[in-house]
C-alpha cells in the first residue's frame, strides 16, 4: 500500500488477516463464542456429561449432514434423507422383530439407505432433472413406503440387545459418539484427500468442465447420493436402536435441518466449495443453542428467534471479510 493514494472512506485499503479468518471460520468463531457464553452462564453446561450428551443426541443428524456435504458440494440437493431415514428405521425395527437378529436388522438400515440413495442418484442422472425436485418426489415415495411397511403403526422392538448400538457405551463414551467420530473422520478424508473428493468438487464447481476433464459426472452424482442415503441409514440404525421402536414419522424435518447446518457451516449452496467439518460444526452450533435454552431459564418461545439471529450473525461475520470488489 503506497502512502500517496487517496483514501476512500469506509473502504478496505488492504487485506487484513482477521477479516479473512472471519470469512472462512465464521461458524467456528460462533461455536466458540456460544460455548464460552454458556460456560459462564451455567455451571451445568461445561461438564463432560452434558457435552457428551450433546454429541450423543446429535450424532444421527451430524452423520447425515457430514454425508450431505458431498451432495451440496457436488451442486445437488438431497431432500429425501428424512424419508430414507424413516424407511431404514421401520425396516430395521420390522426385521428385528421378524428375524430376531439384531445384527441383520441393524445392518439392513445402512444397506437400505444405500440402495434408496442410489435410486435417487439414478433418477437424477437418468432424467437429467435438478435433484431438488427429484429428491422431493422420491421423499414422498419413500415416506409412503415407510407408512406402508408399518401400516402407519408403531413397531416396538423387544429383541434382546437391540438397543446396544444406541444406548451402549465404550470407554465411558456412548457408542453413537464413536460412530460419529469414525464417520466424520472417514468422510472428511474422503472429501479432502481422495480423487473421488476432487471429482465431487469439480462436479459442483463446473460440471461441464469436469466432464471434459474426464470426470464421470453422472457416476459422481450417483455415488454422492448413495453416500447420503448410506449415512441416513447409519443414522437410522443408531436412532432406531436408541428408541427401540420404528415409526414412519421418524426423522421428519431432518433433511432441512441437515441442509441448514451444512450451509451454515460455510459450504456453498452453489457447489464446488465446502468441507465436512463445517457441516458438523453447523450441526453443533444449532444444537448448542437448543441446549443453552434448555439449561438456562430462557423463554423457549425465543429459541427460534435466537437461532435465526445467530445464523444471520454467522453469515454476516462471513460477509464482513467479503467486501464488494
Amino acid at each position: 500500500m503506497t502512502a500517496m493514494t487517496a483514501e476512500i472512506p469506509g473502504r478496505r485499503r488492504t487485506f487484513r488477516r482477521p477479516l479473512l479468518l472471519a470469512k472462512d471460520y465464521a461458524v467456528l468463531i460462533l461455536l466458540v463464542a456460544v460455548t464460552v457464553f454458556l460456560s459462564f452462564a451455567s455451571p451445568a453446561f461445561f461438564t463432560s456429561d452434558n457435552l457428551l450428551n450433546i454429541l450423543n443426541q446429535n450424532a444421527p443428524l451430524a452423520i447425515i449432514a457430514a454425508a450431505g456435504t458431498f451432495v451440496i458440494v457436488s451442486g445437488n440437493f438431497d431432500l429425501s434423507t428424512a424419508s430414507v431415514f424413516a424407511v431404514a428405521s421401520v425396516s430395521a425395527a420390522w426385521l428385528a422383530n421378524e428375524t430376531g437378529s439384531v445384527a441383520l436388522a441393524l445392518c439392513a438400515a445402512p444397506v437400505l439407505g444405500l440402495v434408496l440413495g442410489a435410486v435417487n442418484g439414478l433418477v437424477v442422472t437418468a432424467l437429467r432433472i435438478h435433484s431438488f425436485l427429484a429428491t422431493l418426489a422420491s421423499s414422498l415415495v419413500y415416506s409412503a413406503i415407510a407408512v406402508l411397511i408399518t401400516g402407519g403403526a408403531l413397531i416396538t422392538v423387544t429383541t434382546e440387545g437391540f438397543t446396544e448400538l444406541g444406548r451402549g457405551e465404550f470407554l465411558g463414551v456412548f457408542l453413537p459418539v464413536w460412530v460419529l467420530a469414525g464417520v466424520v473422520a472417514l468422510l472428511w478424508f474422503l472429501l479432502s484427500g481422495t480423487v473421488f473428493g476432487r471429482h465431487v468438487f469439480a462436479t459442483g464447481g463446473n460440471a461441464e468442465a469436469a466432464e471434459l476433464s474426464g470426470v464421470r459426472v453422472d457416476r459422481v452424482k450417483i455415488l454422492v447420493f448413495s453416500l447420503s442415503g448410506l449415512a441416513a441409514g447409519v443414522a437410522a440404525a443408531i436412532a432406531v436402536s436408541r428408541i427401540a421402536s420404528g415409526q414412519p414419522q421418524a426423522g421428519a424435518g431432518m433433511e432441512l435441518q441437515a441442509i441448514a447446518a451444512i450451509i451454515l457451516g460455510g459450504t456453498s449452496i452453489h457447489g464446488g466449495v465446502g468441507a465436512v467439518w463445517r457441516s458438523v460444526a453447523g450441526v453443533f452450533l444449532i444444537a448448542l443453542i437448543g441446549n443453552g435454552f434448555d439449561i438456562l431459564d430462557f423463554n423457549p418461545q425465543l429459541k427460534d428467534l435466537v437461532t435465526g439471529v445467530i445464523i444471520l450473525a454467522a453469515v454476516a461475520l462471513a460477509a464482513v471479510g467479503r467486501t464488494r470488489r
Binding site: I243, N291, Q301
Partner: protein, 322 residues
C-alpha cells in the same frame, strides 16, 4: 417437606424445580398443561419453580431435553407431554433418577398401556387413545341407531403416518364396521389444521353430499369441516359433528347445537394432577401410577359431552383453546 428426595435446587432454594417438557411450547394444549402444573403446585401449597422446555414437535429434541434435564442437576422432577412417547424410552433409566410424570401420552413402547412401562416414570396422566376413540365411535353408533337407512360416516383423523392416529382410526373402524347400518364413506387426514381439514372435507363432500356423521379426533379439524359444510351449502347442524379436545370453541359449538358432541380434555387439570403425583413422589408419598385423565376435570363435567351433559355445568367453558 421441600427437602424430600431433593436435588440441589430444593436444598438451596427451598423450592422444587420442575422441568415441563412440552411437545411444543407454542401450542395451546401444552401451554394449558404447564399452567395446570403451576396452578396445581399453588393449590398444594408448594413452592415450585416450573420451567417449560420447547420440544418443537420433534422427537429428537425432546429426547435431548429429557437427557439434559437429567444430567444438568438443575431439576428435582420432570413432567413430560411426549410428542412421541416411544422414542422417549431411550432416555430411561435417567442418569440422575428424577421422578418423571407423563401427561397425555405414555412413555414406552406401548401407546395404549397406561401403567408406567419404563423405570423412572412414576405416573401417567392420560387416557388410552384407543379407548377414547372407541368411546367416541360408540356415541356415533348410538346416533346412527336412531336413523333410518344407511348412516354415512366420514372419519377425519390427524395424521395417518403417526402411530397414535393410526390407532385411533383403527379403533373407529373396528367399532363402526361392526354395525350393519353404518358405512364409512371416506377416511381423511386433517393434520390438526383447520385449513387442511376444510379442504379435505370440502373435497370429500363433493362426492358424499349425503354425509351423516363427521367423526374427528380434534376440534381444530372439526371447525374446518364445519366451514366446508357451510361452503357446500350443507347446514352443519344437520350433520352429526364431533370433535376432540374440549376447546372453548368446541364447547360453544356443542352448546349452540352446531356440533352434536365433543370429547373433552382437561389439560389444565391434567397438569395439576401431574404436579400432584410428582409432589407425592418427591415427598415419598404414595403415587398413583395411572391417573385417568377423563376423571380429573371439574365436578360434574362429563368428558364425552353433548348439549345435555353440558347443560348442567353452565360455567365450564373449556380449559384451553387452540
Amino acid at each position: 417437606n421441600a427437602s424430600g428426595s431433593g436435588g440441589d435446587g430444593s436444598v438451596e432454594g427451598g423450592a422444587y424445580k420442575v422441568a415441563v417438557l412440552a411437545a411444543s411450547a407454542q401450542n395451546g394444549y401444552n401451554q394449558a398443561v404447564y399452567d395446570g402444573v403451576v396452578e396445581g403446585a399453588k393449590d398444594l401449597g408448594l413452592e415450585v419453580d416450573a420451567k417449560i422446555l420447547d420440544g418443537g414437535f420433534d422427537a429428537t429434541t425432546q429426547l435431548s431435553q429429557l437427557q439434559t434435564a437429567a444430567t444438568s442437576g438443575e431439576y428435582d422432577g420432570v413432567i413430560v407431554v411426549p410428542h412421541d412417547g416411544p422414542s422417549l424410552t431411550a432416555g430411561f433409566p435417567m442418569a440422575d433418577d428424577l421422578p418423571v410424570v407423563t401427561v397425555l401420552n405414555p412413555i414406552g413402547p406401548d401407546i395404549d398401556a397406561m401403567e408406567p412401562q419404563v423405570e423412572g416414570v412414576v405416573s401417567t396422566v392420560a387416557v388410552p387413545p384407543t379407548a377414547a376413540a372407541e368411546r367416541q365411535a360408540e356415541d356415533v353408533v348410538e346416533h346412527c341407531a336412531d336413523q333410518e337407512g344407511p348412516c354415512k360416516v366420514m372419519l377425519l383423523v390427524g395424521n395417518l403416518s403417526s402411530p397414535l392416529d393410526v390407532a385411533r382410526r383403527d379403533a373407529y373402524q373396528s367399532v363402526l364396521e361392526r354395525e350393519d347400518g353404518i358405512e364409512i364413506v371416506s377416511t381423511l387426514e386433517g393434520n390438526y389444521d383447520r385449513d387442511q381439514s376444510l379442504s379435505t372435507v370440502a373435497n370429500a363432500v363433493q362426492s358424499h353430499r349425503d354425509v351423516d356423521v363427521i367423526l374427528s379426533n380434534a376440534d381444530q379439524m372439526t371447525l374446518g369441516a364445519e366451514v366446508a359444510l357451510t361452503n357446500a351449502g350443507i347446514d352443519p347442524s344437520s350433520v352429526y359433528l364431533t370433535g376432540g379436545g374440549g376447546t372453548t370453541e368446541a364447547l360453544q359449538a356443542v352448546r349452540e347445537g352446531r356440533w352434536a358432541a365433543d370429547y373433552v380434555n382437561f389439560p389444565v387439570s391434567m397438569g395439576a394432577a401431574a404436579m400432584e403425583q410428582l409432589a407425592n413422589a418427591l415427598g415419598d408419598k404414595p403415587v398413583e401410577p395411572h391417573v385417568d385423565a377423563d376423571t380429573v376435570g371439574p365436578e360434574g363435567v362429563e368428558p364425552y359431552a353433548d348439549a345435555d351433559t353440558l347443560a348442567g355445568v353452565e360455567d365450564f367453558t373449556g380449559e384451553w383453546n387452540g
